[in-house]
């Protein structure tokens, strides 16, 4: 058999690596066929609502303009299995940085889905009222040493959590706008 040149061998090696990549991609995709409704990225809130038949999603109707956060959310994730969860990431205008994370998860979830905005240090939280709901406001320092705030409350069995690289006033306003009524 004729000996192959280095270039030919390199090409063959690249092809085999592409095959391995393809195999891993297929293997990663297969579970979604066998078990639907696990964590998935959606292109829009509507498509998540439709596909997972999600009801009672709490969406903000007000986002302070000076925060330069872009609506609709840049990233939307949702799952029904192993527990109900809906996550939105809002990014800053002209940037890839996430400025607001909003999570809605089942209050009975066995574990918490780690938010994409990392909280480095938390201070003691204070109890506040968000449209007559008892909520906890925690001032914190997030990744990149940026001051941020977290607000969370239980809305009829759904834990709603907002983490925003914004002031406490702004996050409370955003949180309030997710709830109906005055």
């Amino acid at each position: 058999m004729k000996a192959w040149s280095f270039g030919q061998k390199l090409f063959l090696f690249a092809v085999t690596i592409l095959l391995v990549t393809g195999l891993l991609t297929v293997l990663n995709w297969l579970p979604s066929l066998l078990q639907k409704k696990t964590m998935k990225r959606f292109s829009s809130i509507d498509s998540a609502e439709k596909e997972l038949r999600m009801k009672h999603l709490f969406l903000p109707t007000y986002i302070p303009e000076d925060l330069r956060l872009v609506w609709p959310p840049a990233e939307i994730y949702a799952q029904e299995v192993p527990f109900r969860a809906f996550i939105m990431h809002l990014k800053y205008k002209g940037s890839d940085e996430v400025g607001l994370v909003m999570e809605q998860t089942d209050a009975n979830a066995p574990y918490r889905i780690e938010p994409h905005i990392k909280i480095k240090t938390k201070t003691a939280g204070s109890q506040i009222s968000v449209k007559n709901r008892k909520a906890v406001l925690i001032p914190a320092i997030c990744d990149d040493n940026v001051p941020c705030n977290e607000v969370s409350w239980n809305e009829n069995g759904t834990i709603i959590t907002l983490i925003c690289k914004c002031s406490a006033q702004d996050i409370v306003k955003i949180a309030s706008s997710t709830l109906p009524g005055q």
Binding site: L10, L12, F13, V15, L19, N28, P82, E114, K118
Partner: protein
């Protein structure tokens, strides 16, 4: 509880090291095919990648990207997410993480029975190779000339009174070759020279230290089926390498083949107990290795190992590391 453990750092280390070892094994085997690697010297080095890299890959990746284990990375960046499979419950009876843990426990049990228990059994029974009965002048002269050819310090040689063919090298810094008088009587001069050269090549390559180090890695990955298989293959590769070097020095493959043939286990019909069955399997596997060694000796030339290509090796190692990063 199990899924919580598998989501913790130790659990992720175990899961990912098993996955990384499989990926490394697949890439290394494909590399043999793509780069046309047939030489055992090269195969030995490539197989070391399968054994060594998975030990360090997970901590290294976590150091580089601490967020790598989080759902966001798994969903958006990873090429393969193990949790997707582990959380599956296709029949609604048993989630796959149970199956995975049972599989790892079986591999661990095999490791204990196959590797750990024999060590304790040997220690408690005090099995030794026998008392050194001294040496023979002819052996000393032969070994002296072999060591001069290989440019190594001449090891001590010791003849034992043993009715079986025995030829082993002991020690790490100060080596000692032990040979049974049965083997000395059974082999002709050139055959004995071939066998002794093979042992001297082991000393030259520092095989015992290498094997101990590789065994340590194998012990760290006691739950990993790939380590179980690859450790044996690496040890076998070392034998093939030493055979090839021996023949390149003695230029007499026929003598080495004849010497190797002396070490075949006789697999007669004996009592059919479980331990006898184990012995027969081990004997059969030992004979298969000897068959393969003889076959390789019949195929190889007298030129020793081929030139080792570092570029293909580095490319293969890089691909394993990159792929491993994307497999969580």
């Amino acid at each position: 509880m199990i899924i919580r453990f598998l989501s913790s750092y130790p659990g992720m280390y175990i899961t990912q090291s098993v996955l990384h070892a499989h990926i490394a094994l697949l890439i290394v085997e494909l590399s043999f095919f793509a780069w046309g690697i047939r030489d055992h010297h090269a195969k030995f080095r490539y197989r070391l990648l399968t054994l060594t890299l998975p030990v360090f890959m997970f901590p290294l990746y976590q150091l580089i990207t601490p967020q790598r284990s989080e759902w966001y990375f798994r969903l958006n960046t990873a090429l393969f997410d193990s949790q997707r499979w582990l959380e599956l419950d296709p029949l609604g009876i048993l989630p796959l993480y149970h199956v995975f843990v049972i599989f790892l426990l079986i591999v661990t049990a095999v490791f204990i029975v196959q590797e750990i228990l024999p060590i304790f059994r040997e220690r408690s029974s005090g099995t030794d190779l026998g008392v050194c009965e001294g040496t023979l002048d002819t052996l000393e002269v032969m070994l002296d000339s072999i060591c001069r050819t290989l440019r190594i310090k001449k090891p001590e040689i010791c003849v034992i009174d043993e009715p079986l063919p025995v030829l082993v090298t002991q020690g790490f810094k100060h080596h000692r070759i032990i040979v049974s008088n049965h083997l000395i009587e059974a082999l002709e001069e050139e055959q004995l020279r071939g066998a002794l050269t093979h042992e001297a090549v082991h000393i030259m390559r520092d095989s015992s230290s290498k094997t101990q180090l590789i065994y340590l890695l194998r012990m760290l990955m006691f739950y990993n089926p790939v380590s179980l298989v690859e450790f044996r293959r690496v040890v076998h590769d070392d034998e093939f390498i030493c055979d090839a070097i021996t023949v390149s020095k003695t230029k007499n493959p026929a003598a080495l083949i004849a010497a190797i043939s002396c070490f075949y286990h006789q697999l007669g019909e004996g009592p059919k107990g479980l331990s006898q069955m184990k012995q027969r399997i081990e004997g059969h596997s030992h004979n298969l290795l000897l068959d393969e060694r003889i076959q390789k000796l019949q195929e190889i030339g007298h030129d020793g190992p081929e030139h080792f290509g570092w570029i293909p090796f580095m490319l293969t190692a890089s691909v394993i590391l990159i792929m491993g990063y994307l497999v969580v």
